[in-house]
Symmetry: C2
DNA sequence: AAATAAAAATGAACTGGTTTAGGAAATAAG
DNA sequence: CTTATTTCCTAAACCAGTTCATTTTTATTT
């Protein structure tokens, strides 16, 4: 059980668990190791797990019909990642989720999560709260895309998530912020009209 | 109690409720009538309610520092609306939520919702599920903004939400889709480069 | 350490969508 | 039914960010 403790601790930030509940929960959790450039989710396949990052970095992205990549999310230590739509509706994924470094995950399958939500109802509260926070985050991101220029979005990201920016390739960051990698290059080297 | 039944029925799509639970729940719900152009949420004030639309139409939007409006959501009959961030964190709102028509709402306060979530734990499941769906929806919208042109987003919206498009002013629709009202005018009248 | 592949930089030409400024239609109000 | 207000349309100039094509730098593999 020792190796799945990070997830138990994560959940305990939101709800209290008895020792019995913790053990029950731990029995559903599995450690997985993945190598850099390995995919844990791929378009066409139903996303079967939710993954907590113990060590490493990931990126979830879509490839559009013109072949362009658009990054929906990053995850480093202590974050969760999956193709959320595919997971909750149990339908084929549209995203790739790829390891950007050799990584270690703690995973739980969709079916097991449904089981323990039924067995331990207070975990519903945990799920509700973290989903609400993700939603609030996504709304801010959407508004930021509407209201801010490319450069402002870049500055905002750097000030909030410098730790992530350092670890991900530049083309991945550009595609997260919603502009081309060439333009990110210009921003970084001050070749844009103003400033 | 009759007048708050729509919300009870809405919740029953997701979880079963005993008569006692329904009555308990109903005691927290209040009917509110608002006139066209009236605000139910305003920046600077904490959003105290979650609102279910019985009749009418609403729009939630942000005004940026240049004075431009950006619509985050619409709501017509059988939808919910609020400033979600403000509600869950109980911090000052950043959005306006405005009635686009004379409308009727069923509202519940943040405190009362916390109470009944504690009293009736299975409502946590209801909250969890609808929040998950909102999140999946928002992710699709974000990706749609990244991957599609203004015209494609317009066509997509029209085919999915023609009912809403008919009821909201054009500037509100443009600001939801993320482009200027002049450009929407061009799209509608086929004055854009292709097509 | 050499060879190869992947990522980042650069610059010129271009384009999807904005801005500005106006006029025409439609809604709402007296 | 008349006036005021809000909403919608048009058109030309403009710009933030893209595209394309090539080079340099940095990782990865042998």
């Amino acid at each position: 059980m020792g190796d799945v403790l990070p997830v138990i601790h994560y959940i305990e930030r939101y709800v209290d668990l008895s020792d019995e509940e913790k053990n029950h929960l731990a029995s559903f959790l599995k450690i997985t190791k993945v190598k850099k450039r390995q995919f844990i989710v791929q378009p066409g396949f139903v996303c079967s797990h939710k993954s907590y990052v113990v060590k490493g970095a990931f990126r979830g992205y879509l490839v559009d019909k013109e072949g362009r990549e658009h990054t929906l999310s990053f995850a480093i230590e202590d974050w969760w990642i999956s193709d959320y739509s595919s997971l909750i509706y149990q339908e084929p994924a549209t995203l790739f989720v790829e390891a950007l470094e050799d990584s270690v995950l703690i995973q739980i399958t969709y079916e097991d999560e449904q089981k323990f939500l039924a067995d331990i109802p207070k975990l519903e509260k945990f799920e509700r709260i973290i989903t609400q926070r993700s939603l609030a985050f996504q709304q801010k991101r959407l508004l930021s895309n509407f209201t801010k220029t490319a450069e402002e979005r870049y500055d905002e990201f750097m000030s909030k998530y410098a730790a992530i920016a350092k670890r991900v390739p530049q083309y991945a960051l550009a595609s997260y912020l919603g502009f081309s990698t060439e333009y990110l290059s210009k921003i970084r080297n001050g070749k844009t009209s103003k400033s």
